[in-house]
Amino acid sequence: MNCMEFQRELNADPRALSTDALGHAETCGDCARRMVSQIKLEAQWEADLRIASPAGMEERILLATQIGRQKRQRLYALAASLIAGVAIALTLNVSRFGSDTPDLIAMAVEHVQGEPEHLLETRHVEPEVLNRLLARVGAHSSGTLPVTYANACPLPNGDGGHVVLATHHGRVTLMLIPHGKTDAMLRRATHDLIVEVHTARYGSYALVAPNELALTEVKALLARQLRWT
């Protein structure tokens, strides 16, 4: 190896010199000095560039991964329970209500099942946004409802509204169904899901709740705060 080859190797990776290069440095004073100088320089660069990482960064990363994982697990569990709920509800409804009425319950449950992430997220919803949705079924909110999600959504017979309300006993989905009418209140319950469909000024609205207490709390809220046009 000559000095030029040594220098090329030194510049490419001074910490991983080949046996040939090290042998050359033993016999060439200039290259030995270059090597020592470059290795010192590398150490200085490394020290100068060694900035501290933010405190707690690793914990935040692990937490973020854990939350993502748990959220997925909760979604899977929710979807599984809703599928079971749909199956049971559909079976019961078809046998008792004929061909029209059970569709509203099934529609509401299927919609919630299809978008389970809305049960977990929390968004700020402006009152006017909520009222625009409520207006579709002829309602108006006169106060503040604990809304965590609200958006328009496509339903089989036209657009409706998908609203999620927080209660002390779990979140309840309020489906606004302007194009689906029911003459009487419909209700179906399984051990982990309760669905009620009520008549609205235009069409109907459905409540999909995880338990009786949550449903009762939402119904009381709506009774206090909804005004019908």
Partner: protein, 174 residues
């Protein structure tokens, strides 16, 4: 921090990797973008992607290299629209011409580093901070080993030049 419960080999290894490499990933990210908040986001995104695509890690011994590769992609994705077109200078004569046009004031190591073209800064950082060989860097940056050797060599020459040149002599390369 108890994590994911007992018996999850994947989770245990993941936690070890995060704790072991996150600071190095952060330093690499920082010297790429020079923004602490973005750097942490990049490291977090890198780790989350690693978790999601765990099946792509064929050899656990390659985990560090794999993480740096992901971070580099994340950085590129982040700056996809902002980053000007890269000019790869592989020819020595062309390099000397470019280097000759560059006036450099006396700069500290950190400042000097940030003035290097990204195509030189990146492999140099991977070697100095990451401790990777040219061959490993070639895999990370998707280039040949020879190209990486050329880039880190030029980066070192340029750094030495910048740090040794007296004040008022040269302007910084934009």
């Amino acid at each position: 921090m108890a994590w994911f419960g007992i018996g999850s080999g994947k989770a245990t290894l993941y936690e070890t990797l995060v704790r072991g490499y996150a600071p190095e990933l952060y330093r690499f990210a920082y010297w790429l973008c020079r923004d602490r908040a973005i750097s942490e986001d990049l490291v977090q995104e890198t780790c989350l992607r690693a978790w999601k695509s765990w099946q792509n890690l064929e050899d656990q011994k390659q985990a560090k290299q794999w993480l740096f590769t992901i971070l580099r992609r994340e950085h590129a994705r982040l700056y996809e629209r902002k980053t000007p077109e890269r000019v790869w200078i592989e020819d020595d004569a062309q390099w000397e011409k470019v280097a000759g046009q560059v006036d450099m004031p006396l700069l500290e190591v950190r400042e000097a580093l940030t003035k290097l073209p990204e195509s030189y800064r990146e492999p140099l950082l991977l070697q100095v901070l990451g401790g990777f060989s040219c061959r490993e860097i070639a895999v990370i940056v998707d280039a040949t080993e020879e190209a990486v050797m050329a880039r880190v060599s030029r980066a070192r020459r340029m750094m030495r030049e910048v740090l040794d040149v007296p004040v008022q002599t040269r302007e910084v390369m934009k």
